[in-house]
């Protein structure tokens, strides 16, 4: 028994400083205010928050840093920020604004050195490597890394890339299944299991969770943390429901 609780992590997609996905809370119509959303999730027992910046402009990224700073002042749980981080300066700006960790995705594939740079400068726990993987039977593990929001295949084996990321100093892997993302089919547990067994750092499961049992399956596959977005934003499942469900299945959760 590790003693450590499995983390439940809501993910918020930002564009130009606003939350852009699945904003369907009845009482939050037309809100899209990330601080309001973050406060609700913290109160519901979120163990951590992940922000993904999908802004495509320099202005949008500046707005993101300001939003992180605003949210940091009132949120007392860890915040990971990803999306568009391609230099150590990008990482530094977000950490200065109040992110506790940064996740790198495409930039890490293009320039793997950035992983070690972030780990050395800010600590291993700061360096999250986000991997978007899709099924490809030509790969030894059966999964291929994709970059640029899933659009571009890389011919990199997902499990091999995870091992390299860990050896370069990543403190965590945020592992998203492109095949499952946006579906309701549950996490890609085979992929989770392969990566969790291959590396000695924590894995965050992402993509496809929509039912309580999906979270249990993700945990049982070796994930240390379980991420979801739409189901939380739409109010379909609460964080507390997930934790209660895991607790009755003897999984350690923070209640």
């Amino acid at each position: 028994m590790s003693g450590l609780a499995v983390r439940i992590i809501p993910c918020l997609d930002f564009k130009d400083g606003r939350v852009v996905k699945g904003v369907q809370f009845e009482h939050l119509v037309d809100s899209g205010d990330p601080l309001e959303r973050a406060r609700i999730y913290e109160a519901q027992g979120a163990d951590e928050l992940t922000f993904l910046d999908i802004s495509a402009t320099v202005e949008g990224r500046k707005t993101m840093a300001k939003e992180v700073a605003r949210i940091r002042r009132s949120i007392a749980i860890p915040i990971t920020v990803g999306g568009g981080i391609s230099t150590i300066d990008d990482a530094a700006r977000l950490l200065d604004s109040g992110a506790d960790r940064v996740s790198v995705n495409s930039a890490a594939v293009r320039t793997p050195k950035i992983i070690g740079d972030i780990a050395r400068q800010f600590g291993v726990q700061c360096a999250v490597v986000a991997i978007d993987a899709a099924k490809n039977s030509a790969m030894p593990s059966g999964y291929e890394v994709r970059i640029a929001a899933g659009a571009v295949p890389t011919e990199l084996d997902a499990v091999e890339w995870a091992k390299e990321a860990a050896s370069r100093g990543a403190g965590e892997i945020l592992l998203t299944s492109i095949d499952r993302d946006g579906t309701s089919l549950g996490y890609e547990c085979t992929l989770l299991g392969l990566v969790a067994h291959a590396v000695g750092i924590p894995i965050v499961a992402s993509g496809g969770a929509s039912k309580l049992e999906h979270f249990l399956e993700g945990y049982q596959s070796g994930a240390s943390a379980l991420l979801a977005a739409g189901i939380f934003h739409r109010g379909e499942i609460s964080i507390l429901e997930i934790k209660n469900y895991l607790a009755i299945h003897n999984v350690e959760v923070r209640l």
């Binding site: 003693g3 450590l4 983390r7 002042r73 600590g123």
Partner: protein, 227 residues
Amino acid sequence: MSEKPRLVIVETGVANLASVRALAERLGMEPVVSADPEEVIRARTVILPGVGAFGPAMQKLKENELDVAIQDRVAEGLATAGICLGMQLFFEASEESEGVDGLGIFQGKVRRLENNLPLPQLGWNRLEPEPDAHLLQPGWVYFANSYGVAVRAHPEMSGKKVSGGFDFDAIALATTTYGSPFVSAIEAWRKGRPSLLLCQFHPELSGIFGTQLFARWLDLNGARRPL
């Protein structure tokens, strides 16, 4: 006079201090980041935050004579807290940076957490204070660490006289288990106050629990009273 009491955060280099600043602000204090040893010695309340590795952090402290400033504060029984690496620096050495002397206020060496579990330990775990703890309370706290002080090392630090002439009236620990137990917090009392508080976890990221722990610590030290 409505000026907020100052909380001095020791500058140790490339630290990400936004979360610790936010904690100070939630507590009604004005965070002041400083690498000035005079300011660190004089301040009513000082936090040594935890970022980076043991060796570079100690080197940075020594460059600015902040190591002596912190030792002097602790010897005087002034309110001082260490967070994560900021706690580890209070020990004699660390496996993370062999050959580097720590502040040596507590005996013992910081070691890599040894188990078959993922490292770093990232996430929420239980703080389990020993029965003689008065400040520390049981609850969930947030960790991000690969190193720590094993519980088997802790008999070395019990007792009034610890090391290097640092006298405490009482010392109590809290432990946490990640595969095996490690020391997750220390409260050390001088003159009826818990002047020294060390946390291997991150109180600034431990939700209401962390904020309330620091509020109690500050209040028991009279640190939030107007001057």
